[in-house]
C-alpha cells in the first residue's frame, strides 16, 4: 500500500508544471478519468490526449493543493485550478477522488461545478471543439 502523502506530493508536483507525458507518474496504464465537461476516458493514452487538449485550451493551467484525506484505497484532494482562457485569469476549486492501485491511481473522478465555465468556453467554440475531440471514446 502506497503512502497517500507521497501520492499527494506527486500530484502537487505534477500540477506545478503539468505535462501530459508525466501523467504516467500518477496514473496506471488502464486508468479511468471522469470529469465534468469532457467525456470519460479509459487508458493512459486517452488521458494524455485529453490533457493535451485541455492544455491547448488553457496553456497556463496550474493547480495548488489546499487539503487532502485518505481512507483505504481512496484519496481525496481539494485544490484550486487557475489559468487563462477567453481572455481572463480564472480560478475555480475542485476535488479529485482517486482510487489507488499500488502507488498510482487507477481511477480519478473530478468534482467541480462547470456551470460558471460555460459562457467563457462558449466564447472559444473552436478551441473547445478541439479539446472535446481530443479525448478518444
Amino acid at each position: 500500500m502506497t503512502d497517500p502523502a507521497e501520492f499527494v506530493r506527486r500530484f502537487a508536483t505534477f500540477w506545478s508544471a503539468p505535462e501530459p507525458e508525466r501523467l504516467s507518474e500518477l496514473l496506471t496504464p488502464d486508468v479511468t478519468l471522469v470529469q465534468p465537461l469532457a467525456p470519460r476516458t479509459r487508458g493512459l493514452a486517452a488521458a494524455e490526449a485529453s490533457f493535451r487538449g485541455l492544455f491547448a485550451l488553457v496553456p497556463d493551467l496550474r493547480a495548488s493543493v489546499d487539503r487532502w484525506g485518505a481512507h483505504g484505497d481512496a484519496v481525496f484532494i481539494e485544490f484550486r485550478l487557475r489559468g487563462t482562457f477567453a481572455g481572463r485569469i480564472r480560478e475555480w476549486p475542485a476535488v479529485d477522488r482517486f482510487t489507488l492501485r499500488g502507488d498510482k491511481a487507477s481511477e480519478r473522478v473530478s468534482y467541480f461545478d462547470a456551470t460558471a465555465l460555460l459562457l467563457p468556453l462558449a466564447r472559444r467554440p473552436l478551441a473547445v471543439w478541439r479539446w472535446w475531440r481530443s479525448a478518444p471514446r
Partner: protein, 153 residues
C-alpha cells in the same frame, strides 16, 4: 463512537430520509455554514432549512448513499451517490462534501458537484448565458480582466 462516525451516521440517515429538519441538524448550532455550488458566499445555519426545503421542492425524491469517505487533520471528505427525479426523469449524480467538524456537527461545509446535468433537466430551454449566470462562482473565479501580463487570451 467518534465524532466522525456520529456525523457520518447522521449524514447517512439524512441521505435515506432527506428533510429540511434533518439537514439543519447536521450543522453546528452557532456557527455552522455551508457553501453549495453556485452560492457566492457560505450559507449560515439559520438559512439551511429554507435552502433544503427549496431543493427538495425541486427534487422531492432526492436521496443519496455514502460511497466513500476520508478524514485527515480535521477535514472530512464524503463522496455521495445521489438519486432523484429531475425534470420528470430519474437522474443519478455524485457530490463530494468537504467538511470541517466541530464535535459531530458541521462547522464549515462545502459541496463539490457539477450542476450542468441537473440544470439541463430542470430548465431545458435555458440559454447558455442564463446557465452561466446561475453559475455565479465562488469569489475568485474571475481573477483579472486579462489586461495584465498574465491575461493574454
Amino acid at each position: 463512537m467518534s465524532d466522525v462516525e456520529r456525523f457520518l451516521a447522521r449524514f447517512e440517515q439524512f441521505g435515506r430520509e432527506a428533510s429540511p429538519e434533518r439537514y439543519e441538524d447536521l450543522f453546528d448550532p452557532s456557527e455552522g455554514t455551508v457553501l453549495h455550488p453556485g452560492m457566492t458566499a457560505p450559507l449560515p445555519r439559520r438559512q439551511v432549512r429554507a435552502y433544503m426545503a427549496t431543493y427538495l421542492a425541486a427534487i422531492p425524491d432526492f436521496l443519496f448513499e455514502v460511497e466513500s469517505w476520508a478524514e485527515r487533520g480535521g477535514t472530512l471528505f464524503v463522496e455521495a451517490r445521489n438519486r432523484g427525479t429531475v425534470g420528470g426523469e430519474g437522474l443519478e449524480w455524485r457530490t463530494v462534501y468537504c467538511v470541517t467538524l466541530r464535535g459531530d456537527r458541521v462547522l464549515r461545509g462545502r459541496a463539490y458537484a457539477d450542476r450542468v446535468p441537473i440544470l439541463a433537466r430542470l430548465l431545458p430551454d435555458m440559454t447558455l448565458a442564463q446557465a452561466a449566470a446561475l453559475g455565479a462562482p465562488a469569489p475568485g473565479l474571475d481573477v483579472s480582466d486579462g489586461s495584465g501580463p498574465d491575461g493574454a487570451p
